[in-house]
């Protein structure tokens, strides 16, 4: 079931090489960021606000150009190889759940009937196949976020970018979605880059944590969480988890000091 290859055997997916981003007024949002993303990685960008983690995500998504440096996909990239989940669910309120998940295909010019099964499969993956005809306003915050995740996954992308997707949700919903996200990632075998400011979330989810500091935004340290997947609720209470959290917290503290 688990499609993700062991760490050492993963092929390169993307290379971020010495990327700087300067905003007007000489605001250095990102300085000399380098990162090699491999297929199947679950990378968290962890840092305080203003550390450039969202800027980095926008650059990777191609929504913004680096001031200098390069971001290159190492494999052939097709339409639908990139999925994005924002902090808000970002659904079209005038469209049903199924129509929202259909969006990436609709923009490619495909007909709904041709890929109906894919849409239902994606909705089943997030546990919302019974809500395909509901409108977003009828759903809770957590359910809307699941629809957003289904939309990002429906094209079977190689890379999914997530920008603090669970920050606005309550803790119970967040834990549940954390568990489900790992299961979904394992099932479709994609790479995830996950922006968060929660140490606990980053340790539970990722195998690589990139700790960033602010002013200017830069990478301070990379930590590896070598606990095996699938990770369950037991992992959350294990000594191993606690140790990793301590290490990540310490790295984050150093990042805060570096910025001050």
């Amino acid at each position: 079931m688990v499609k993700v290859a062991p760490f050492s055997e993963r092929a390169e997916l993307m290379r971020i090489d010495g990327v700087d981003k300067v905003f007007p007024g000489d605001v250095q949002a990102l300085r000399a960021m380098s990162l090699t993303v491999r297929e199947g990685d679950f990378i968290s960008l962890l840092g305080p606000s203003g550390c450039g983690k969202s800027t980095a995500l926008r650059l990777i998504a191609g929504l913004s150009e680096p001031t200098s440096g390069r971001i290159d996909w190492q494999t052939q990239r097709a339409r639908g190889d990139l999925g994005v989940v924002f902090q808000e669910p970002t659904l079209m309120p005038w469209a049903t759940v199924a129509q929202n998940v259909f969006l990436p295909f609709r923009l490619e010019g495909k007909s709904y009937d041709a890929i109906k099964d894919d849409i239902l499969a994606a909705l089943k993956l997030v546990g919302l196949d019974k809500f395909q005809n509901a409108y977003p306003r009828e759903l809770s915050g957590g359910m809307k976020m699941r629809v957003s995740i289904a939309r990002a996954m429906v094209t079977q992308p190689k890379l999914i970018l997530m920008d603090e997707p669970f920050a606005a949700l309550d803790e119970i919903t967040r834990f549940k979605l954390n568990n489900d996200l790992l299961e979904m990632q394992a099932r479709i075998g994609c790479t995830v880059i996950f922006v968060t400011h929660s140490v606990f979330e980053s340790v539970f989810l990722s195998d690589r944590i990139v700790v960033m500091a602010a002013r200017p935004g830069r990478v301070i340290e990379e930590l590896h969480v070598d606990a095996p997947y699938p990770r369950s609720e037991e992992f959350r209470t294990s000594a191993e988890y606690a140790a990793h959290c301590r290490a990540a917290s310490r790295a984050l503290e150093q990042a805060m000091e570096a910025a001050a």
Binding site: V84, W94, A95, P104, R106
Partner: protein, 286 residues
């Protein structure tokens, strides 16, 4: 207390506060139509008393009964006039919607066109139509076309400005998402901007409906003496010359009713289009 006691079926108990709130809702539901009717009855009664007690002659102020008599007695004439005014109003509204929304889309697609033309749209809007109308009728031969132009000038702007606002109020994350999935300009317009603009457009439409009636009436008053005008405004003017005040009131009542009808119809249309998804059309449970 045990759990089974709490789960006893068949004894729905509502606390005092909720009962009070429910009663308030029931009363409001009736008051919503009853109170305006009472106000109307009172007004008509006061009007009638003023006429009777002061022994006013009907060419100064006719009694309500006389007004009603004119409405029913002159119905054939007034109805024909109402149809004419109604037709001009509807045609003007259609042109205002097509023109207003069309300009909004054009402005949205091409910033340079917007910068060039927007000031003139504003100038057209802020200049009183009564002042422009006589000029229009000098240069435009067809009375119908002239009246349509007058009504359009008043009605297009709310559609233009509200649709423009709507087209620019797209969720920025959705915009980014469309970009990531490689949407074309037309896909973005059709699948993202137009649905986002719909609630704004419908708000503008409701205002434009009332304004196109005003535009049609004003145009008729200006063009009326030219000969073809037999709309309601012309009837009001004509009845005034003849001191047939009762018919003036009757025609005025029909104009008001038309305005109310247009507003109600557009509100219903708006509700039908938005009820599934937009916050404005959602009934709260509490």
């Amino acid at each position: 207390m045990s759990v089974t006691e709490l789960d006893q079926p068949g004894t729905p108990t509502v606390d005092a506060e909720e009962a009070r709130r429910a009663r308030g809702r029931r009363i409001e539901k009736t008051a919503r139509w009853l109170l305006p009717l009472l106000v109307m009855a009172l007004m008509i009664w006061v009007w009638d008393r003023i006429v009777v007690w002061n022994e006013l002659p009907h060419f100064i102020l006719p009694s309500p009964a006389r007004g009603w008599g004119s409405l029913t007695g002159d119905w054939a004439i007034l109805w024909d006039s109402a149809l004419l005014t109604g037709r001009i109003t509807l045609m003007a509204l259609v042109i205002a919607v097509v023109g207003g929304a069309g300009l909004a889309i054009l402005f949205n697609q091409n910033r340079m066109v917007e910068l060039s033309l927007y000031p003139y749209a504003v100038i057209l809007q802020v200049t009183p139509v009564v002042a422009i109308a006589p000029l229009i009728f000098i240069y435009v031969e067809s009375k119908t076309v002239g009246m349509l132009m007058c009504a359009w000038i008043v009605a297009f702007f709310p559609v233009l400005s509200s649709t423009t606002l709507g087209l620019n109020s797209v969720d920025h994350n959705l915009r980014d998402l469309f970009r990531i999935y490689g949407a074309t300009r037309w896909q973005k317009l059709w699948m993202l901007q137009l649905p986002s603009a719909l609630p704004y457009f419908l708000g503008g439409l409701k205002i434009a409906g009332g304004l196109s009636l005003i535009g049609a009436v004003v145009a008729e008053l200006v063009a009326g003496t030219g000969g073809v005008g037999t709309g309601l405004a012309f009837r009001i003017q004509e009845a005034g010359y003849r001191l047939n005040i009762a018919r003036m009131f009757a025609a005025l009542a029909i104009v008001a009713a038309m305005g109310v009808f247009i507003f109600a119809a557009l509100s219903l249309l708006s509700h039908m289009l938005l009820r599934k998804w937009h916050e404005s059309a959602i009934k709260r449970e509490y």
